[in-house]
């Protein structure tokens, strides 16, 4: 057993994480920045941070990930990283010709107290930033929040630096999609267009991290929200933020800066959350829900009713990011399943309340843990004490899946050992259908594998 060192006895831990269910802010900022067209993310810190983030994103997306680093030295840690960032900006604009550089900090540069706007001003004075090019930044100390916080901060930086207030509002709606996959972003746009709603989505990693094979290596793939679009967000009539943790800060900043009202919704994963998103679009853009979409929804409900006996009472363990967990939990409860163990390493006050609401009092045995000690080691200990039927979470669940012989549906970040997450959405009605298929595949395959010969069934 790979995790033979995991004991069933849960000991109170005061000072550490074992097999963390989170990672640090800068990678989230890097991911968000990749959703900006012709943007070069830049890591202001040691070289390793940038290398690790690029490697982790490469493993998840199987795409080249480009980002610069300030390559801190011992000297920079004493005297500050100003000269590194100045040199870096100069080099990046000269060599890689981005439209925008999105700088994020690291634990190192935060602690020594580098003032990024001041350094960028200096770079401007020195003429390191060519005419018509931009530098934006987000503070992303690794010891605060998690990778999701980093995403939220960089999305907000896009507003802070680029959104322009406009007296006249247009019909357009802004969407902040949250930390979801390129396929999800594409699906959300499709949903909006199908309803006849004009949207600006930021960040938007579709056509960046799911770029087609063209026989050429594109340093800047064609996707991503453009700078003119970001400027226009201030003229939109509303913003819909999907996911409280990842998207609310950007939407609220846009409201404050440009007076664009915002509504913060759950990620549209599962039936009810998608309903709320579609309804919000309908209300905000004053459009009708087309029959086509109604049919799409109807098919999801049809599958749920057809197969409900297989969902009933199944115990599920899930881990990952708060926004995903809230919507997934709600969906599982709607399916009459029992999300009994829920773990996120990402801190944030409202999460426990939201989960409680999603559980709707229907899973009294549910254990939820967040923040310190909320890690995959604890999750495994819970499962050892009382097993589950299904695991839903990132690739790090594969050890538990193997040791406990429990099926795993890969969902979230990172997925290091399968493809599909970049290409098939889990948001919207289409996404719900895919989740249903995955859940049923997992449960029924497990039943096929483990049922005694006499009760092995052909028809299920």
């Amino acid at each position: 057993m790979l995790l033979r060192h995991t004991t069933a006895e849960v000991a109170e831990r005061s000072a550490l994480s074992v097999n963390p269910a989170k990672t640090c802010q800068p990678i989230g900022a890097m991911y968000a920045a990749l959703g900006l067209h012709r943007c070069l993310p830049h890591s202001h810190g040691s070289q390793g941070c940038c290398a690790y983030h690029r490697s982790a994103l490469t493993r998840h997306y199987k795409e080249p990930i480009m980002a610069g680093t300030s390559s801190f030295t011992e000297g920079s840690s004493v005297f500050g990283g100003q000269s590194n960032l100045l040199q870096a900006l100069n080099n990046m604009f000269t060599l890689y010709d981005p439209d925008v550089v999105a700088v994020h900090t690291t634990c190192l540069s935060e602690t020594i107290g580098d003032d990024i706007p001041q350094i960028v001003d200096k770079a401007n004075e020195k003429g390191h930033i060519p005419e018509g090019k931009y530098v934006i930044h987000a503070n992303t100390p690794s010891y605060v929040g998690s990778h999701v916080t980093g995403f939220a901060n960089m999305a907000k930086a896009m507003v802070d630096y680029l959104a322009e207030p406009a007296a006249m509002k247009n019909e357009c709606i802004n969407i902040v999609p949250g930390w979801v996959e390129p396929a999800d972003m594409r699906e959300i746009k499709r949903l909006c267009w199908q309803m006849g709603v004009d949207v600006i989505m930021f960040p938007d990693t579709s056509d960046v991290l799911d770029a087609p094979q063209t026989g050429e290596y594109e340093f800047y793939p064609k996707g991503g929200v453009t700078i003119p679009e970001l400027k226009q967000t201030g003229a939109s009539s509303a913003t819909l933020a999907l996911g409280h943790t990842a998207s609310a800060p950007a939407a609220r900043a846009l409201d404050v800066k440009c007076n664009v009202p915002c509504e913060v919704l759950d990620l549209p994963i599962g039936l009810a959350a998608t309903d709320r998103f579609v309804d919000a679009l309908r209300r905000t853009a004053r459009v009708e829900v087309p029959q086509y979409l109604e049919n799409e929804r109807g098919r999801v409900v049809d599958v749920i009713t057809d197969m409900h006996q297989y969902f009933h009472g199944k115990r599920v363990a899930l881990w990952g990011d708060p926004d995903q967990l809230v919507s997934l939990t709600e969906f599982l409860v709607d399916l009459d399943m029992r999300p009994v163990y829920i773990v996120t390493g990402t801190p944030g006050k409202a999460f426990l309340k939201r989960i409680e609401k999603a559980l709707d009092g229907r899973v009294p045995e549910a254990k939820v843990k967040q923040g310190l000690g909320a890690d995959m080691f604890l999750m495994h200990q819970w499962i050892k004490n009382e097993p589950v039927d299904l695991l839903i979470g990132n690739t790090y669940g594969k050890y538990i899946s193997r040791d406990e012989d429990t099926p795993l549906i890969r969902h979230g970040f990172p997925i290091l050992d399968r493809i599909g997450h970049s290409y098939f959405p889990t948001v919207g009605y289409g996404g719900a259908l895919r989740l249903l298929e995955k859940i049923l595949d997992a449960l029924l395959s497990d039943q096929d594998k483990n049922s005694p010969e006499e009760s092995f069934e052909l028809v299920m």
Partner: protein, 471 residues
């Protein structure tokens, strides 16, 4: 094309050399230019990859969760016993700890983990933040070591304190404190330590079997399938056999100084280097029996793999490769191995090569070969296209670039899935290169002509670079 506009940075000009052009004055071992998309990592990364395979130790990363998350079981360093090294332990420092210091947290974390997991020793990695907030990691380690009666070793791997190479040194320093603390009873004169093999895909096991067939006793492996107790008695061995020039040389030198144990440099990749390694080790012991056994081993192994190797060679003859490795030592072996397969190396570079390394690489390569130090994706893709390479050998960050360009790829780094060392490794390598370079999937790539189109006739091996769209 997008990249055509990008030029080599002025400050990097002397880190690129084309063989044939004079003078040869390769700049290297430089800190990367800020802002270039370097493929390099940090000090912590260096220490982590070297120590990670020690399977019965606790590896606690003192810092925010990220450093632990990104290095959680990413290296396929196999263990025949405990799997403790595959878990990810971190003090998960938060803002409060950054302000008030993380020593207390580190102490409690160590005590709790040692109580729970009963490791043979603990390594405590200092990350960037620890270097800045000034935690006295040494003092905490010392205290816990006394309380728990196991070695608790600080690893000074603050990310910004140099390059990956400095991380190797920090790892060696930590291991150096273990060596000499164990009982050397039962170690004979025909004995050695394997250094600088990390048992990726089981390579250390293979090498160990070779040495055992030669009649030699392997005392300790630094660090593939490594065990603390073996490391502690490693000073009883007669010889240190060092692979991977960067990572272990400090420890080998240290052991020579302290215990008078000589060391030799070897490489286990490719027929030539593998055989040379075994012969050099055999000669060291001045024992005809060992030499005879070695000759037989090499003869048997080589004759066993040659037929299959020749089949691949026929298919690969005239192909061109770009090699980009972490350390330069591996690049030497790869250039030779590729030559064995009829593949010409047209671009070669490393993240951490030294001047001597590049000098040797230059001698090894054909006229016109491009040598690069600490390259970046733009440069690399440009050189690959200019030289019409069919294959890229590199690590995780290079793989998707190769595929986007429609090139074959072979991972010769952490993520290799099968043994590439030794004789059977050479066959695996050939098969992997063949299966990627000659894969029919490249015909699906737009703008890439098929081989028969390029050469004008079907099935004939071609020396022409496969044309790719360049605009």
């Amino acid at each position: 094309m997008e990249t055509a506009r990008h030029n080599i940075l002025e400050g990097r000009k002397d880190q690129v050399h084309r063989k044939g052009q004079e003078p040869f004055n390769m700049a290297c071992e430089k800190h990367s230019l800020a802002g270039s998309v370097s493929q390099r990592a940090c000090v912590f990364c260096g220490s982590r990859v070297v120590l990670y395979p020690i399977a019965d130790a606790l590896h606690l990363i003192h810092g925010p969760a990220g450093c632990a998350a990104y290095t959680w079981d990413i290296r396929g360093a196999l263990s025949s016993g405990p799997q403790l090294h595959r878990l990810s332990f971190t003090t998960d420092l938060r803002e409060r700890d950054v302000i008030f210091g993380g020593e207390k947290k580190l102490y409690h974390a160590l005590v709790e983990l040692i109580d729970q997991f009963q490791p043979k020793a603990a390594f405590v990695y200092a990350t960037c933040i620890v270097g800045v907030i000034g935690d006295d990691v040494d003092a905490v380690c010392k205290r816990v070591q006394e309380e728990k009666s196991i070695p608790v070793l600080p690893v000074h791997s603050e990310g910004f304190k140099g390059t990956k190479k400095d991380g190797y040194k920090a790892a060696c320093d930590a291991m150096g404190r273990l060596v000499g603390t164990g009982d050397t009873a039962g170690i004979g004169p025909r004995s050695l330590n394997i250094m600088g093999d990390f048992n990726i895909a089981g390579e250390t096991w293979l090498i160990k079997r070779y040495y055992e067939r030669m009649g030699l006793q392997v005392v300790a492996s630094f660090t593939g399938d490594g065990r603390i107790d073996d490391l502690r008695r490693a000073h009883g061995a007669a010889l240190n056999v060092v692979q991977c020039s960067g990572s272990m040389i400090h420890l080998a030198k240290d052991m020579k100084e302290r215990y008078g144990i000589p060391f030799i440099h070897v490489s286990y990749f490719g027929i030539e280097d593998m055989s040379r390694a075994l012969y050099e080790v055999a000669e060291f012991f001045h024992d005809q029996d060992i030499v005879d056994r070695t000759q037989k081993l090499v003869r048997d192994e080589v004759s066993q793999i040659m037929p299959e190797l020749n089949r691949y060679r026929e298919k690969l003859m005239g192909k061109r490769a770009c090699v980009y490795t972490g350390g330069a030592f591996k690049a030497f072996s790869l250039v030779r191995s590729l030559r064995t397969l009829g593949v010409q190396t047209v671009v070669v570079g490393s993240q951490t090569g030294s001047k001597d390394d590049y000098d040797l690489l230059r001698k090894l390569c054909d006229e016109g070969t491009i040598l690069v130090d600490d390259t970046n994706p733009v440069e690399l893709s440009r050189f690959v296209q200019e030289k019409g390479a069919d294959l890229l050998i590199g690590g995780v960050k290079e793989r998707p670039i190769a595929y986007k360009l429609g090139l074959g790829f072979c991972d010769h780094n952490h993520e290799r899935k099968q043994v590439l060392a030794g004789y059977e490794g050479m066959v695996n390598f050939a098969r992997e290169v063949y299966s990627s370079v000659c894969s029919p999937v490249w015909k699906l790539v737009p703008g890439r002509r098929t081989e028969s189109e390029a050469s004008g006739e079907a099935a004939a091996p071609t020396l022409l670079p496969v044309a790719r769209k360049v605009s």
